[in-house]
Symmetry: C2
Subunit: 366 residues, 2 copies
Amino acid sequence: MKPSGPLDRVAGAHDAAVLAVARRGEPVARTGLAEALQVTPQAISKILSRLSERGLMAELGSVSFGPGKPTTLYGIVPESRRAIGVHLTRTRLHGVVADLTGQILERREVEIDRGQPVPELISVLASAARDLARHGAGELLGVGVGMPGPVDPVAGVPLDSSSPTDAWRGASIRDLLLTELDMPVLVDHDSRAALVGESWSQPGLLDNAVLVLAEEGLGAAMRLDGTIVRGAHSRAGEAGHTVVRMGGRPCPCGRRGCAQAEYLAALEDDDQELAAEVLATVVLNLVRLVDVDRVVLGGRSIYAHHQVTMDAIRAALDRGLHAGAHGHVEVLLSTRGVDLIAAGAACEVLEHEYGLPSALVGPAAL
Amino acid sequence: MKPSGPLDRVAGAHDAAVLAVARRGEPVARTGLAEALQVTPQAISKILSRLSERGLMAELGSVSFGPGKPTTLYGIVPESRRAIGVHLTRTRLHGVVADLTGQILERREVEIDRGQPVPELISVLASAARDLARHGAGELLGVGVGMPGPVDPVAGVPLDSSSPTDAWRGASIRDLLLTELDMPVLVDHDSRAALVGESWSQPGLLDNAVLVLAEEGLGAAMRLDGTIVRGAHSRAGEAGHTVVRMGGRPCPCGRRGCAQAEYLAALEDDDQELAAEVLATVVLNLVRLVDVDRVVLGGRSIYAHHQVTMDAIRAALDRGLHAGAHGHVEVLLSTRGVDLIAAGAACEVLEHEYGLPSALVGPAAL
DNA sequence: TGACGTAACGCAACAGCGTTGGCTTAGTCT
DNA sequence: AGACTAAGCCAACGCTGTTGCGTTACGTCA
């Protein structure tokens, strides 16, 4: 029964909001921010001086519009902070360092043997992180890890996976990496990381959005009213195991007609059209349920045929929502390509430290 | 880019939290509340004195546990405030008055002619509300209206409906009723109202829950991390038009295999088992997507065969989630029976005034 | 019966964040 | 040069929660 915002959680809410506006890249001014945040210009002055003191923002100069004292412009200082992000799969590790705005400064890629035992995995992770840490300037905030399958972001533990003989299952990757690196570590589901990454660099745009990720499986993440949805057990977004064809193809999960089973089967038959139709159904169901106005698509499986897929989904949405007269739903392809999840994991660290408090509801710990 | 909690929105967050705890009915004490809210006992004293001054809570007495000064007990004053709730359908109006705890004090039921023009509808609504307003004590906070189909809760306007020649379509029920009654009016989707009502009387229990409502159609509402999901255009929860059987039965919405079409067809064939299976699929899909730990079922169509339906859904959830080792998902039948939506609409008014601010994100206006 | 320990509670001063009101600064326009 | 205007600073204040210390009311034990 904890209130959403005791003073110590709200402390800095306005500071974070100013930082979010500044993240867009354009210089910001006192009056505009006051308008945007619905506070007095005087409050913005105090906020900006706090942020400047922390090195997050800096005065850029001043411009004069007509009569009166010229406006002082402020801007974010991207190189003041950094975070490392890692996309971890069973066969590959893709790592990046990103600055405060989420811009990628450097990349690393490492192959992993399938079924690699946990201690080796940790040392590969740690050495990649240490390597990446040598690039860029500014305080290093921590390491984010995005991985497929359900993950407990508080404990940093992969939960059950489809293969019960999983070497990583139940391993506290977070704690092991934390002791190895002596640096905050945040572990989360890959699609959630991806959505955080997409929205960090375009603040406000994806406040009501879903991201559908098609890598080896099919996953989703949602941001509703600006808040990332985690769910009661941090398992929100298992779109791959929602049933779209009752009585359809059997799925390893034990049910029939799961979206993922139908999608993978269509790909196996090289039926791009059917695969896109399954994806479109998943997207439409999501839009109907949570009423988002933007949908982002990403993942290797989508990049391979993105033109066909995007067209099919856009067409299906136009057909499906026309009768309902939903406002237009924008369908976007991820802006980050193969860096999607690694960049997102880095942005999760940034968001944890400097994001709006509303984005942080629910369990997530560094 | 507004922050989630500027001070004036947070103002009273703790007060609301105390009120929420007290709403459970049991007397509350300083120490326990301080523990629950993570503030000092001294802060609780101030909060309780503010709430007492507003008449919302009162000192109940004191009890002594062992040595030391005895604990002063406080309790909510249910009769200090009231709200009216109305469940409006095309053929019937069901209205209630509820006290601050959501307890129903009085009911009214009025038949409506199908296709009744708007001015007549408003006068029927207003007279029912005025009648109900004579019952119970305490300040009357306003009128809540819950109705099927998409609704814009800011403007209080029913949006598109399946029948394009709808007499009510686009009518600003909120504004008309407001001028007629000179009292705050809140209009919302029926399933959302129902969920607010269920959770108001059991604060905290349904912080991560969905409610599936089966009346003439099939609807849903979600509460995630304590926040009611409204969506970008207040249309979240159209579970009836999610596709569960691609290529299945045609639906008036233009697509095939929508849950609602499959469900209604099964009922028409008097195949309770299939109907329950469709419902179970909808519920399982919801659980997979947003990972709630409680599911509430309600609506006339469910009450008719609730034993069969509940058993089928529980069985399907056990089967479907076993492989995923999800935590147990509790499936509950609505506690309010036919009052579900009317009571919920009243509770929406109460929640708007005295609920936790986190529950109020998104568009909703009185 | 009185002294002592204990737990709940109140009062007063303080801290953080935003607001208000008044003043200063630095430009354009006449 | 002087008037006008918009931006920005300083100081005092309001609200809410915290801290420190004193007060109250109860049980227990000598």
